[in-house]
């Protein structure tokens, strides 16, 4: 029994199959794209001003109270921000990949965590530390990186013959993706049941955004809010997509359709509610077959030349 479980576990997390062939190149490009998105999301983020906030407003999250962390000075925060952004650039380029990944992960946990220590836990950046942690622990720097170029010049090769190293990072980030959206769907069902779909909730959410924040960029949100059928359709679609998201782990079709559906839902939030969940965008990059796109791109480029 135990050996059966161990066999299933190993086969799921480590064995390449037709839907996910072992590909250091795919992992390398995914790293570069995901970290570029994280960098883009935070290029203008300034953590320095948090250093001026009075301790009376500090309500630390569990991670910070557990470690006994307090609000650092503005100078410390600006230095840490600079190191964080430099580590992200280095990680994106694949230079000293393991070290820069470890620094990028640790500082993302600290800086993005600190933002949540003032009365409100925001969810927009939850995925960032996980993406950085999984990538930092993987061998994502063996291809499509400065490290691999440097090694090649020295006549060495960084790519490992062991294909298992290039499977688990994808599987784990797919699992995380599935859990994040399943959690959101499950929270809605357990808190409100079918009322979330059949009541006026969706309409009221759309109205509240246009009333309070004035962030709704157009009248489309209010148009949908005025149609009970459309509201019900979007509410049911949201619950269906979110609760079905763990299927990405077991079905090739689900890996094609569900991320696309959730990405479209995010675009809908931007248009209808006027806010962005950009912190989750890096997760989508792990569903894209970058190695195939790269090879085809290279072939087309060669033909043109």
């Amino acid at each position: 029994m135990a050996s059966n479980i161990s066999q299933i576990w190993n086969s799921f997390w480590y064995e390449p199959n037709a839907s996910l062939a072992s590909s250091p190149l795919r992992l390398g490009i995914s790293r570069a794209v995901a970290v570029s998105i994280i960098l883009w999301n935070h290029i203008g983020t300034n953590f320095e001003s948090m250093g001026t906030i009075d301790p009376s407003m500090y309500i630390p999250i569990g991670l910070f109270s557990g470690l006994g962390l307090s609000i650092p000075s503005s100078t410390t925060l600006s230095v840490l921000t600079l190191i964080w952004k430099l580590s992200l650039v280095s990680f994106c380029l694949g230079f000293k990949t393991r070290l820069s990944g470890a620094i990028a992960f640790t500082l993302s946990l600290y800086l993005l965590g600190l933002v949540n220590c003032f009365g409100k836990v925001f969810h927009r950046d939850n995925a960032t530390p996980f993406v950085l942690l999984v990538l930092a622990m993987s061998n994502c720097g063996t291809r499509f990186s400065l490290d691999s170029l440097i090694a090649r010049r020295k006549g060495e090769s960084l790519s490992q013959s062991n294909p298992t190293e290039y499977i688990w990072p994808f599987r784990l980030l797919w699992a995380y993706f599935g859990l994040v959206f399943f959690a959101a769907g499950y929270a809605k069902i357990s808190a409100s049941g079918m009322q979330w779909i059949v009541s006026e909730h969706m309409s009221r959410v759309l109205i509240s955004h246009s009333l309070n924040w004035g962030t709704t960029p157009n009248e489309l949100g209010l148009f949908i809010a005025s149609s009970p059928m459309l509201c019900m359709f979007f509410a049911a679609g949201t619950i269906l997509l979110e609760t079905a998201s763990p299927l990405v782990l077991v079905s090739v079709w689900a890996r094609r359709l569900i991320p696309l559906g959730i990405f479209s839902m995010f675009m809908g939030f931007e248009v209808l509610l006027g806010f962005s969940l950009h912190g989750f965008y890096p997760l989508f990059t792990f569903f894209v077959p970058w190695d195939i796109i790269y090879s085809k791109g290279l072939k087309v480029a060669n033909e043109i030349i």
Partner: protein, 154 residues
């Protein structure tokens, strides 16, 4: 994959999956883990938020934008103040901080608000009805919550 690395990777997988599942089914928030409860509770017909005003010589000016608060968002203030109002000393320190933040943000060029003598907070209630929204109605009820006048020369 070496045995040590195999154990390390399996520990990482188990930790991420195990703690995520715990947060989902126990409905726990432990950042960066979460059960992602945003918009999960069905909205009622009324909706409220804290609204901020700066007190000038002869009027009030609305300050409900994060650009006034140097590092804090209006959502942070909305959530922190009710949580600490039972502790008067801490509450006054927080309001004093908001005064400092307002002038720091102005100094940094984030806004060009007037000199204010104090801050006033109201809880603003809206009816979540399309009729009111289309008429661009403001909140239907403004309930006074707190007022903090700055010390002279402070």
């Amino acid at each position: 994959m070496s045995r040590n690395r195999y154990i390390l990777v399996n520990t990482l997988i188990s930790y991420i999956l195990g703690f995520s599942l715990f947060c989902i089914f126990a409905q726990e928030e432990s950042w960066p883990f979460s059960h992602f409860p945003m918009y999960a509770k069905v909205y009622g017909t009324e909706f409220s938020r804290l609204r901020f005003y700066g007190i000038t010589e002869d009027s009030e000016v609305r300050l409900d934008n994060s650009k006034y608060w140097h590092g804090l968002s209006t959502t942070n203030i909305d959530r922190v103040l009710p949580k600490i109002e039972s502790d008067p000393e801490r509450f006054i320190a927080a309001l004093e901080h908001l005064k400092k933040a307002y002038f720091l943000a102005r100094e940094a060029g984030a806004h060009s608000g007037p000199d204010i003598k104090g801050i006033r907070f109201y809880r603003c209630y809206w009816n979540l009805s399309l009729k009111d929204t289309r008429k661009k109605h403001d909140c239907h009820k403004l309930e006074f919550r707190y007022e903090y006048m700055f010390a002279e020369g402070g």
